[in-house]
């Protein structure tokens, strides 16, 4: 079998419906060749369905899937140059580790399948257990065997379906780093499905955030975090404080906003033209507790409030600060030697105008917050 010309993975208008339920809705996505791409979203958002359609295990109801300039929508799973690392690993219990890894090569009648399989096992540092059966391995080892079994075929796209979900926290961290190293070593396109935002941010070059079968936003981790485009993304990736604001004036590069009678600022390029009402967002760690007399740049935004809760986590202290209109803001203060504030203390919060972001006012301010709380509770 000759090396096929491979390229980007493209999904155009892909929709998957089950009876009356739409799992994936009009998905358009380009995943560049050689990238580490994460599909991130809460359970039931359609990310696994998307992955299964790319693998060929499910058929899209409408739409096409392309690899390079080849339309693979109609091909069967075994005809696609795509391999999957299953959530349950799905190692063949009756075959040795070596035979598991060589399975794909054998089916394609690759001549030196034994040697290539050993090579892949060496890549995941498991060459010494090649003769064992999957049942004799720990979860972490099985995970690496599943990875080797997929990588060894040098697929155009490697799909990972929550591959670290069954591992404990420490092992998961270690595997995150290992996976990323292996990906850059072999240079294959990795598409990683996860509900863990931290995992996605740690590993992926590009993240696509999915919600209810649709794409919310696609971008690199920093862009998604600093400039979320929807309340769902703002709440699902980390935490956000969202303030109800109206634009009072736009002067030069700075817009003036009115938040419950307080004047706040935001760079004007964060605002869409003609917007008047919006959610002004700011991340908890961007907020600082400042003394009322502390100086600051002219662009510093200020709000005053009362500390209603303070919890010390070692790395930082998390505060809840109640504003005059009753809303509570989350504040994360790094443990950098600054004086802690006690519960009940009157405090002033300050942040740089450019740390704010604007979101459409017609969205639900709590979208995505609950999903994230559920998932972090489960892990």
């Amino acid at each position: 079998m000759t090396e096929e010309t491979s390229g980007d993975l493209r999904l155009t208008g892909v929709t998957k419906t089950y009876d009356s339920f739409t799992a994936v809705d009009q998905l358009d996505l380009v995943i560049p060749r050689g990238s580490f791409f994460a599909l991130l979203g809460p359970s039931g958002c359609g990310k696994t369905t998307t992955l299964r359609m790319v693998a060929g295990l499910d058929q899209p109801t409408i739409g096409q899937i392309w690899i390079g300039d080849r339309d693979i929508t109609e091909t069967k799973a075994y005809q696609r140059n795509v391999n999957t690392v299953f959530q349950s690993y799905a190692l063949f219990p009756h075959l040795s580790i070596l035979d598991n890894v060589a399975f794909g090569l054998r089916r394609r009648k690759v001549s030196d399948h034994k040697a290539k399989a050993m090579e892949a096992l060496e890549l995941v540092q498991l060459a010494h257990i090649a003769k064992k059966k999957p049942g004799q391995l720990s979860g972490g080892m099985q995970q690496r065997v599943a990875l080797a079994r997929a990588i060894v075929n040098r697929p155009d796209v490697l799909l990972l379906d929550e591959p670290l979900g069954a591992l404990d926290l420490k092992l998961r961290r270690q595997m995150q780093i290992e996976l990323k190293q292996i990906q850059s070593e072999v240079g294959l396109t990795f598409v990683h499905v996860t509900h863990d935002q931290e995992e996605a941010m740690t590993m992926a070059d590009t993240i696509a955030v999915m919600n209810s079968g649709r794409l919310e936003q696609v971008g690199d981790p920093a862009t998604l975090y600093e400039h979320p485009k929807s309340t769902f993304v703002a709440n699902f990736l980390g935490q956000s404080n969202l303030l109800e604001a109206t634009v009072t004036s736009r002067a030069g590069t700075t817009a003036e906003l009115d938040v419950h009678g307080v004047n706040l600022r935001l760079p004007v390029d964060r605002l869409a033209d003609g917007t008047s009402a919006l959610w002004l967002g700011v991340r908890p760690e961007k907020l600082r507790l400042v003394g009322p007399t502390d100086g600051g740049g002219a662009d510093d935004n200020r709000l005053t409030g009362v500390v209603t809760d303070a919890s010390f986590t070692g790395l930082a202290t998390n505060y809840l600060v109640r504003l005059p209109w009753g809303q509570e803001l989350m504040v994360v203060q790094q443990n950098d030697g600054s004086l802690p504030a006690a519960r009940g203390a009157q405090v002033t919060l300050g942040w740089a105008a450019e740390h704010g972001f604007a979101l459409d006012a017609d969205q639900d301010a709590h979208a995505g917050a609950q999903d994230q709380a559920d998932d972090s509770g489960a892990t």
């Binding site: 295990l57 075994y78 009756h94 089916r107």
Partner: protein, 305 residues
């Protein structure tokens, strides 16, 4: 899978024994052991002794260690042994071919119909074995629709050509006996296969497809090897009783299809040559044990999970 579970019990028992003698396990074993002694060990010894005795029913039997009985029995009835093995083997292969797709469908694809289908498989057991076999006389009867269809489609010619029947009818032939055996033992093949295939993790089938295996390769490389314990269990449950069966050949066969079970039956009850009947029983048991031992070893089930 059952390894660790099985290991726990003796370990716990020995731990207790160190504190004080614990007779509970032996007491629990007692009824089963007693049953085995009374209804298996004693009859076996009696049968073994009977096969080495000489005499008649009227004058009584004396143990003379007359091994010639075995030689005579084998030389007279070896074709019946062979026929029994061939018939039972054929029926076993047929039940496997019929049961495997059915069990796979029931276990993996039937969804909420699963329990209903299981009931259908077991339903024939509500009728007596004898009645079910007699029903096949009606099914295969000369002026019935099945025979008419077989004649019009020249299936009867085909059956004659492969020597499963000797004339235009289906009844009283090798064909009918094998049909009866296959039908009667089919549930014994389906149930172990079903129990095994139900545990098959469907993601393994998907993984094989993902790794370029065609559906046929997926079957032979993944599904079949993983289902071998079920296949071995089912074939044993079918072959062993089928080899000793004496109802099907009597009700559906002719004088040329007599199986060894039928011979033993008539030697005991009609001819009343107890020694020959006992010797035949022993030889049949020995043959089955050897066949099963070779088969299980070749299937290599102990290596499977």
């Amino acid at each position: 899978m059952s390894g660790p579970v099985a290991d726990v019990a003796p370990a716990a028992a020995s731990g207790l024994r160190r504190v004080r003698r614990n007779y509970t396990p032996y007491l629990l074993l007692l009824p089963g052991m007693a049953w085995l002694v009374v209804f298996f060990v004693v009859p076996m010894l009696s049968l073994g002794s009977q096969s080495l005795q000489t005499g008649t029913v009227d004058t009584g039997y004396v143990l003379t260690w007359h091994l010639q009985t075995y030689v005579d029995a084998l030389s007279r009835f070896w074709p019946h042994f062979l026929r029994s093995i061939v018939f039972a083997g054929t029926a076993t292969v047929l039940t496997l071919l019929l049961a495997y797709p059915l069990a796979y469908f029931m276990a993996q694809r039937s969804g909420r119909w699963k329990n209903f289908l299981l009931v259908l498989v077991i339903a024939p057991f509500f009728t007596s074995f004898l009645i079910r076999t007699l029903a096949w006389q009606t099914i295969l009867t000369d002026n019935g629709p099945v025979a008419a269809l077989a004649r019009s489609t020249h299936v009867t010619d085909l059956l004659q050509w492969v020597h499963l029947t000797s004339n235009d009818s289906l009844m009283n032939s090798r064909f009918a006996v094998i049909c009866g055996l296959t039908y009667n033992f089919l549930p014994f093949m389906i149930l172990p296969l079903y129990a095994n295939l139900e545990r098959l993790d469907h993601s393994l089938v998907e993984a094989a497809g993902d790794l370029y295996a065609t559906p046929i390769q997926t079957f032979w490389k993944v599904i079949w090897p993983l289902s071998l314990p079920g296949v071995v269990g089912g074939t044993l449950l079918t072959f062993i009783p089928a080899a000793g069966d004496f109802i099907n050949s009597r009700l559906l066969g002719n004088t040329q299809t007599v199986m060894i079970g039928q011979v033993i039956d008539s030697e005991f009850l009609r001819v009343q040559d107890y020694s020959t009947a006992a010797a035949l029983s022993f030889v049949l048991m020995l043959i089955i044990v050897v066949i099963v031992a070779v088969y299980v070893r070749r299937a290599g089930t102990e290596e499977l999970v």
